[in-house]
Symmetry: C2
Subunit: 394 residues, 2 copies
């Protein structure tokens, strides 16, 4: 097959709120080859991501992503790796390119899986997929009481694990955070897996983080996620020496393999959290999963959007039996739900399974997406470089 | 002062060639406040960089850069740092944002310097600026003979140092590279400072790099630059253990302080090369210079475009007396030359000095830029988010 077309769709809720909810818009990618269509999703700001696909060349190492994708042969997994390397070489100085590549790479695995009638995880080399324990990924409530109610509701929906993050956490007093942590534990019950996400608000302030450790140990948090920005390796390392039973988790900001490796090598984390929609797609995420596995660091997906993104993000570690925790967006906006016809549901024991149908196993729900489509247009010197394609062309 | 407006100008040569020459287009930024204008330049793909400034918000940590800049107070250096932190927090998940911020940050220093009648380096805390030894930054010729001629011409232009990079280097046989290195040394003369730049083509292949070390030692190269991509810290480290008198140099790909720190902490480099047009501007570059200086790593600017970018890139280490080497674009396209009225020239001894006039000390040559202006337009849901502003509005 040859890659015939790559189409980007900018989708959005009618109103985007100033909250840490990444499901409010979406950057959907369709790749067509050999009469088939594959789908992916960049976990990225749609407009700059599209611009990185279509922009004019600046120089030999600052080319638009399309220069390395359109017309390329796509017959096996090695082709997908080759295309990714082309993008990284030719778009070396185009920062946004790795976010753009991420959705394309997913779509290539989806397409190749459909062509070869195999789920993506098998093409990645895993003989089978193991069930994952999904945690309800939720925002902290504005008050401890509302966090308690959210934790109760997660439990009642069948989740055995829940993560709370963002909202007011880390921004106020230590005592306010302690009350939030306790409310989350209380709502979740003594046997639930409790995860806490700080959303990088301490940047690299080890003292601010350390002040919360006693309470996190007391409520038996399994991990403390993103106390700092992804690059603050030394701050992570220092905190890890004091965090004891509470393992550090981070990595969602990684936009290439090297960054994931640095966190594993230098940051003292127990869990590396990779968003396949940012790191360069499933291909790079799998490389990070292999690297983490060999070094005793658990791999976890980062997913806060649709079930297309969820399926894509589960593939890279589908075959790792003991890396069992998986992020599961529990408060998605209707856009994220409407994006696919089928969904990945919890079974009676609270587990999820990666789809066994070809590719990513998710059907994009074009019929429902019309109201979410954002009309965008990019023109340069009277030429239209991008205009929102028609979704009907499915 | 309050920041009243931020305007982006996409400038380009009529034809952009598929070569490693970053001076073929430019992303110029003008910031206006208090009746003054400051100028900066993002070393970045213009269209995605502009899109990152104007795009709609995706969520609370994925906002357009303009949300953190327009209307902000600008009265002292602390305001510039504060604005940068706002951008990093609010645009955390917008990858291109740091390239967008870079040019804005330069313009803010230019503006503040004009307001306070001080050159930017003094506002950064340096009591004086020391002369720098500029190296002619050139591409390797397609043949060893043409590289020899280029080295001769650099010498005849008054340069005592020259760097050759990109072109065919590293892509063919070891012998072909050896001939290139020898031709460069021969053309430059025995007393010239010779620098070699591989342009990341070996990605993380330590063996490929090590095969060239004996020849680099023989021609007394001062540094071997970017044998690998910025993130390949372990590959750098391994190579540094064998490189002896040839120090490793790298860092131009760093788009935040953490990445520069990682190279200094983990990669065994002798020179850290920072592009103020990528790392987040002069503010972050100065932080990297301080960090490098404290650890015995030499700071060098990375500059391949205009003299506006050159002045901006010299400010962060202007006051470091012993970090003497500076990159100087020696084969700029006419756009890069025409971008400013004044230029930073070599003195009779082959040294350059950072301008002593307020701000960055460079006057943008609006009258000459008309032919280079690229008309660009970004529309979303029938609203124009960006349209090339008029340069006459100076």
């Amino acid at each position: 097959m040859k890659i015939e077309s790559v189409d980007f769709f900018y989708l959005s809720m009618p109103e985007v709120l100033d909250i840490g909810d990444g499901s409010q818009d979406a950057c959907l990618v369709r790749v067509q080859a050999g009469g088939l269509a594959g789908w992916g999703e960049c976990e990225a700001a749609p407009l700059p991501t599209i611009a990185a696909f279509v922009c004019p060349m600046s120089h030999s190492a600052c080319k638009p992503v399309q220069a390395s994708v359109l017309g390329q042969a796509l017959n096996d997994a090695a082709d997908i790796e080759r295309i990714g390397n082309l993008v990284r070489d030719r778009s070396l100085d185009l920062l946004q390119a790795e976010h753009t590549l991420s959705g394309i790479d997913m779509a290539l695995w989806d397409l190749l899986g459909k062509r070869l009638s195999e789920p993506a995880y098998r093409l990645l080399g895993y003989p089978r997929a193991y069930p994952k324990l999904p945690y309800a990924s939720m925002l902290f409530g504005e008050t401890a009481e509302s966090t308690y109610q959210k934790a109760r509701s997660a439990r009642s929906l069948g989740f055995r694990a829940a993560k709370f993050g963002w909202g007011p956490i880390g921004l106020g007093t230590v005592q306010a955070d302690v009350e939030q942590f306790q409310a989350a534990r209380e709502g979740l019950g003594a046997d639930g897996t409790l995860l806490v996400d700080i959303g990088t608000v301490w940047r690299d302030d080890v003292v601010a983080a350390a002040l919360r450790l006693p309470s996190l140990k007391e409520v038996r948090a399994t991990w403390l996620e993103e106390p700092f920005v992804s690059g603050a390796l030394e701050a992570y390392k220092q905190l890890s020496l004091q965090s004891g039973s509470v393992k550090l988790a981070g990595g969602e900001g990684c936009h290439n393999f090297h960054m994931a490796r640095h966190m594993i090598d230098y940051a003292g984390i127990g869990f590396v959290q990779i968003d396949a929609g940012r790191i360069g797609g499933i291909t790079v995420a799998k490389k990070a999963a292999d690297y983490a596995h060999a070094r005793g660091v658990s791999y976890v997906n980062h997913t806060f959007t649709s079930h297309l993104a969820l399926s894509a993000s589960l593939q890279p570690f589908a075959g790792l039996e003991h890396d069992i925790i998986a992020e599961y967006p529990a408060e998605p906006k209707s856009l994220a739900t409407d994006l696919t016809v089928n969904h990945i549901h919890l079974d009676g024991d609270g587990y999820i399974r990666v789809p066994e149908s070809p590719g990513l196993g998710m059907e994009v729900n074009a019929a429902k997406l019309g109201p979410y489509v954002v009309d965008a247009e990019i023109r340069v010197n009277n030429q239209t470089l991008y205009r929102t394609p028609r979704l009907e062309g499915l």
